[in-house]
Amino acid sequence: MSVGLNHYLFLAAVLFVLGLYAVITKKNAVTVLMGIELILNAANINFVAFSRYTDTDMDGQVFAIFVIVTAAAAAAVALAIVLNLYERLKSINLDEADSLSG
């Protein structure tokens, strides 16, 4: 069977789930952020694939570019926050950041 839309979608779905898994299980805040990047990439693959395979013009590609740019901005801020927490806690393990609870 030749490669079609579904193949790309399956690939994206796998990537998405791997990202979810990383976000939930990794203690290290930076690896959690990496997991989020996986999720975003999965969505982007969807966008570009739909843009290619369905009658939709280039909207999907444009969307993907916007996602990449905002992801960069979000990553910059998130990292700044992680480093800031590191200065307080001397650790970037998320399970140690639990003073707020209940």
Binding site: V23, I24, V32, L94, D95, A97, D98, S99, S101, G102
Partner: protein, 661 residues
């Protein structure tokens, strides 16, 4: 007339605003502002009342005024006044009792550090109650209803330094809210069907048959939930005895004339909405309340608590009156009760003021020291006991006749009458118990007795005025003419049939009257005599009888095992058992004496324990369960962000599953 109505409403409101902001700086801390405003409102109310009498007609609507409050789309709310005979009556009752309580408070609250605040709250309370009486729609009645709740909260907790007072006010507020939720739901059901809140339009919609059947029954019962809360009906009556923690004049105001009357008034105002089933529900709730509260009252030693339970009991009577179709009887009892119960509370306040205790154990022989208090108190007691020809006799007799008439036409419901009659005897018994324990015999606490003195004039004048009103043989004539049951023929078919069951009784009621009158006099006399035997002549010793009747304990114990089972469905069996034992122990100590007395007492003890442990327990159980649930859910918030993410994802999967199936 509308101008007077607006003034009546504004006077206490303005007094409240003045008192709360500048009261402290006024001469005499401004007590004259509130009191003056109230008396002015009284004068205006009397004016309206005289008009009502002058243009007398049954169900006469004297004046209405409606303003658009908000008007667009689906929600159209008007604000307006409706003044008819019922309103005129209630205005006089509320303003009269309230003014007397104001006057009385000047003496009673003298020297309190928050004197001006107290009067501010009183004014707010009167404002809310008058608004409740005046408005012409369900929406308005709900708002003022809540305001009444709020101001009672402030007044009951007035001495918040006492933990018990702070807790009592919270309990009152929350218990009332439970009922209010039902009421709100009832109002919203009516609104959702008729699209209006106005009494007239809702009634008209009911008359046209737009609303009917089960839905109307449900709406009526839900509305009545509000009254269950405010008028302290079973099973939400638990707040009222605790609410005695407030200053005594407040008790008189809240528990005699206004707050508790609000529920009865509301049922009267919306009388035509209730289907036969809803009315029957009301009647039975009233019966249960009347009996339970009366039996509990027998064994209380705190003078104000006895009065509190007696209020609950009398409110039950009023509900029975309304529920059995005796519209006039129920509202009449509301009026007479307002006066004699206010008198009883103010009288007890006078006693408490003199001896600085509420325990009847520490009183006795006060008759000589406080003659005015004694005589007025005695008049009120005779009245509440239903002794001819005092006001209480007429109104209670009317209710009994209504119940009997209902029982005669529907024999299955005869027990209502029987239970009420029994309760009437019990009422006479426990009321005279107060009189004997407090005013006669040897002083049990010499020091307190020596210290006692008659209260100042500001306190005794209200007593005398109320005593005169409690005698009021003339009342009945007025009321019968003024408060005629709404012309139901003009309303739709089902309501007509609903009230037919009462209407046809009217014929029966006449013959029922004679029987009811006779039997109630007999029962009252028996109750008084019994009380006198035990507490005045002291022919029977409590302790001796407690010993003799030991087998009866066991018998009672087994008999009420069913009740215990019933209660155990609410709380855990073991817990209840141990508490029941404790309740019986208590009973042996200060138990009651004579055969009947013994039985009734045991019964009332049990009722009391079901009441305290069972109902309170149920309320507490629900509260605790909700709290437990909350703390369990709180456990989800572990502080770990990844756990949150996982739960959210899990929920996403769940939502998906939910959406698919």
């Amino acid at each position: 007339m509308i101008t007077s109505a607006i003034l009546i409403l504004l006077l206490p409101l303005v007094a409240f605003i003045i008192q709360i902001f500048v009261g402290k700086r006024l001469p005499r801390k401004g007590d004259w502002v509130s009191t003056g405003a109230m008396f002015a409102a009284l004068a205006l109310s009397v004016g309206i009342f005289i008009d009502a009498v002058a243009q007398y007609e049954p169900n006469n609507v004297l004046a209405t005024a409606t303003w658009d409050w908000i008007n667009f789309g689906p929600v159209h709310v008007t604000f307006g006044f409706l003044i008819d005979n019922l309103t005129a009556f209630m205005l006089v009752v509320v303003t009269l009792v309230s003014s007397l309580v104001h006057l009385y408070s000047i003496g009673y609250m003298h020297g309190d550090p928050r004197y001006n605040r107290y009067f501010a709250y009183l004014s707010l309370f009167s404002f809310s109650m008058l608004g409740l009486v005046l408005v012409d729609n369900l929406f308005g009645i709900y708002i003022f209803w809540e305001l009444v709740g709020l101001s009672s909260y402030l007044l009951i907790g007035f001495w918040f330094e006492k933990d018990s007072a702070a807790n009592a006010s919270k309990k009152a507020f929350i218990t009332n809210r439970v009922g209010d939720v039902g009421m709100f739901a009832g109002i919203m059901i009516l609104f959702s069907i008729t699209g209006t809140f106005s009494f007239n339009e809702v009634f008209a919609a009911v008359a046209d048959g737009h609303v009917g059947g089960t839905l109307l029954t449900v709406a009526g019962i839900l509305l009545f939930f509000g009254a269950i809360g405010k008028s302290a009906q079973f099973p939400l009556h638990v707040w009222l005895p605790d609410a005695m923690e407030g200053p005594t004049p407040v008790s008189a105001l809240i528990h005699a004339a206004t707050m508790v009357a609000a529920g009865v008034y509301m049922v009267g105002r919306t009388f035509v909405l209730y289907t036969p089933d809803a009315l029957l529900f009301i009647a039975y709730i009233g019966t249960i309340t009347a009996f339970i509260a009366a039996t509990i009252a027998i064994v209380q030693m705190d003078i104000k608590r006895v009065l509190a339970y007696s209020t609950i009991s009398q409110l039950g009577y009023m509900m029975v009156g309304l529920g059995t179709g005796g519209y006039t009887a129920g509202l009449f009892h509301l009026t007479t009760h307002a006066f004699f119960k206010a008198l009883l509370f103010l009288g007890s306040g006078s006693v408490i003021h003199a001896v600085h205790t509420q325990e009847m154990d520490e009183m006795g022989g006060l008759r000589k020291k406080m003659p005015i208090t004694f005589w007025t108190f005695l008049i009120a007691t005779l009245s509440i006991s239903g002794v001819f020809p005092l006001s209480g006799f007429w109104s209670k007799d009317a209710i009994l006749a209504s119940a009997l008439g209902f029982g005669m036409t529907h024999p299955a419901h005869m027990p209502i009458f029987v239970v009420l009659l029994l309760s009437a005897g019990v009422t006479a018994f426990y009321m005279f118990r107060i009189v004997f324990l407090t005013f006669t015999g040897e002083p049990r606490d010499k020091k307190k007795y020596d210290h006692a003195h008659e209260s100042p004039l500001t306190m005794t004048i209200p007593l005398v005025v109320l005593a005169v009103l409690s005698v009021g043989t003339i009342w009945w004539g007025w009321v019968e003419h003024m408060l005629v049951k709404p012309e139901l023929a003009s309303y739709g078919s089902h309501v007509a049939s609903a009230v037919e069951h009462a209407a046809e009784e009217h014929g029966v009621a006449h013959s029922a009257h004679t029987i009811a009158m006779f039997s109630s006099v007999v029962v009252a006399t028996l109750g008084i005599l019994l009380s006198a035997v035990v507490y005045f002549w002291r022919k029977i010793s409590a302790d001796a009888w407690a010993e003799k009747l030991k087998p009866i304990h066991t018998f009672l114990w087994n008999k009420y095992y069913f009740d215990e089972l019933y209660a155990a469905t609410i709380i855990r069996v073991t817990l209840f058992k141990s508490r029941l034992f404790a309740a019986f122990d208590l009973k042996i100590i200060d138990g009651i004496v004579n055969g009947t007395g013994r039985l009734t007492a045991a019964f009332s003890r049990l009722q009391g324990s079901i009441d305290l442990r069972g109902v309170d327990g149920a309320v507490n159980f629900v509260a605790r369960f909700v709290g437990y649930l909350g703390s369990q859910l709180r456990g989800l918030q572990t502080g770990n962000i990844q756990a949150y993410i996982m739960m959210a994802l899990f929920a996403v999967v769940l939502l998906f599953v939910f959406q698919q199936f």
